[in-house]
Amino acid sequence: MMIEQLLDQEQESIVDVEKLSVTFGSQEVLKDITLRIPPGQTLALLGESGCGKTVLMKSIIGLVKPTVGTIEFDGENINQLTERQLSRMRLRYGFIFQNAALFDSMTIGQNVAFPLRQHGRFSDNQIREMVLSRLSEVGLPDSVVFKKPAELSGGMRKRVGLARALIMNPELIMYDEPTTGLDPIMSDVINELILRTRSRNPVTSIVVTHDMHTARKVADRVVMLIPRQRLDPGENQVIFDGSVKELESCRDRRVQQFVNGEAGERLMEMRANGHDQ
């Protein structure tokens, strides 16, 4: 029974990361990461800064090439695709960047319409309607359409980024630290939007965050990474994989420190190592 369930799960996973390692120059950021995400799941990827969360997410979308290992999306190895196939594949992804990464030479309307213009064959009227409806879904008034990204606040820009990522109805949405740098209320607005997006469409989401509040609110499953330097020899970089409840009751000292936001002996460790990794 158990084995069957496991096998079922394996077949169903939409994202399949297999023994992934990423090395930049001489710095090994990720090593031997294996992760399967079933469709419809919201996964929170936790971990302190510099542990490779963003790199893991960028390798899932193919922006970072794995040094070792494979990444499959819906059964296709994305590193064996040609550039064209990869571009087409990326239509099924939505990526919300940490600082929204809006194109500052374009207006908000042009930003949100960008994926549509790039790929779809839509008339101008259709595009306008879709842009306005997406913007209103994330709680932005029509008047922002003609503004430039520089004229908006951080929270508004994040919401525009969300609208832009959602416009092609992606199957997998990745949020890179969606609440970082926002006030508590705006953070919760973003959390609500993540939940609402999921309830509206059957999407799979990966939320990279170090905000426990976000993880508690949106995640079905939590995966926690720690930086390579803090690992005991022979230990895997994924130190926790389970539900939020299990996370709270996890006995691992490093997990507890993260959940409770306590530095403990980290400062001493950093001093001893001579760097803040």
């Binding site: 990326r90 990526f95 990464a101 994926p115 832009r164």
Partner: protein, 307 residues
């Protein structure tokens, strides 16, 4: 990728320390021979590192050029990405290029007139000015001006886009950054830098003429007759061909520097500076090598003629 910066600095510091430890050893001394051997090994390995990293950077740059060409021929960019770049490169640069051209013409007239005056050849002034202008100074100085104005701006803009993840966002939305950002800039430079060079040439010719005719009172009949005698179509072709190469070099180098920008304000600043420096060096190298090969070409076409 800036393989030229850091290792050199490190090497200099290490050389100083090594030198000091030989001149004034302050602790128990390993044998001098061993120290010199160590020093030499380090020196060789530093140079090796420099050579390898330069090769990697060059290879990377070649791949970048290759992929630009591949995209250019496989899918032509849309008008909405082309027009803003055409405007930026072509229209906005017009005043500075015209100004540059005018001043080159006037200064050439000023300097050559006194030189030629010694030999009583002031009537030949038109030929000297216009030949130098069309063949050499017009293209090179216009390209230099544009490497500063257009090239640095491109490197800074693309660098900022890299730093703020906008280039990643393009990829994430299924648009190829090279197709979307580099190809239009390359085409704009390829098309408009030669055009602007013609403009600079024209302004230079006009500036030189006005200075010679109004200030130096050189008879305009001789001025133009000698100009026509000296400058032929091949000279004009030389100048424009050069500027085609300069334009491509400026856009490719600047875009490459922008794409490989290091994070932060410092990274963007460095990308802008090094794009100008590299573009300028490449302009000089291209100028010399094109000059030599065009001379050979001319002599093989017209065996009796003087280039």
């Amino acid at each position: 990728m800036y393989p030229w910066g850091a290792p050199q600095y490190r090497r200099a510091r290490r050389l100083c320390t090594n030198f000091m430890s030989i001149v004034a050893p302050n602790n128990s001394k390993p044998r001098l021979a061993a120290r010199i051997t160590g020093w030499f090994t380090e020196w060789v390995s530093d140079w090796g590192e420099l050579v390898i990293s330069s090769c990697i950077a060059l290879g990377d740059f070649c791949l970048f050029i290759l992929s630009t060409f591949r995209w250019m021929f496989s899918r032509f960019p849309k008008g909405e990405t082309l027009w803003p770049n055409f405007y930026q490169v072509g229209v906005s640069s017009l005043p500075v290029v015209a100004l540059t051209g005018t001043f080159i013409g006037v200064v050439l007239a000023l300097q050559s007139s006194s030189q030629l005056g010694h030999y009583g050849l002031t009537n030949q002034l038109g030929g000297v000015i216009n030949l130098t202008l069309v063949r050499e100074l017009g293209p090179v100085l216009a390209a230099t001006m544009l490497a500063g104005r257009v090239g640095s701006a491109m490197a800074a803009e693309l660098g900022t886009m890299r730093v703020t993840e906008q280039i990643d966002a393009l990829s994430a939305m299924g648009a190829d950054p090279i197709h979307y950002l580099v190809v239009p800039r390359f085409l704009a430079c390829l098309l408009f830098i030669p055009t602007l060079t013609i403009m600079a040439d024209f302004m230079g010719v006009a500036g030189g003429y006005f200075y010679s005719n109004i200030w130096l009172n050189i008879d305009q009949h001789y001025y133009w007759t000698n100009s026509a005698k000296f400058v032929n179509n091949f000279d004009l072709f030389t100048g424009i061909l050069k500027s085609l190469f300069f334009g491509s070099a400026i856009s490719l180098i600047s875009c490459y520097q922008g794409f490989n920008c290091k994070p932060g304000a410092e990274g963007v600043g460095k990308a802008a500076t090094s794009s100008f420096v590299f573009a300028f060096i490449v302009i000089l190298i291209l100028d010399l090598s094109l000059g030599l090969s065009l001379k050979a070409l001319y002599e093989s076409w017209y065996p009796g003629g003087t280039y």
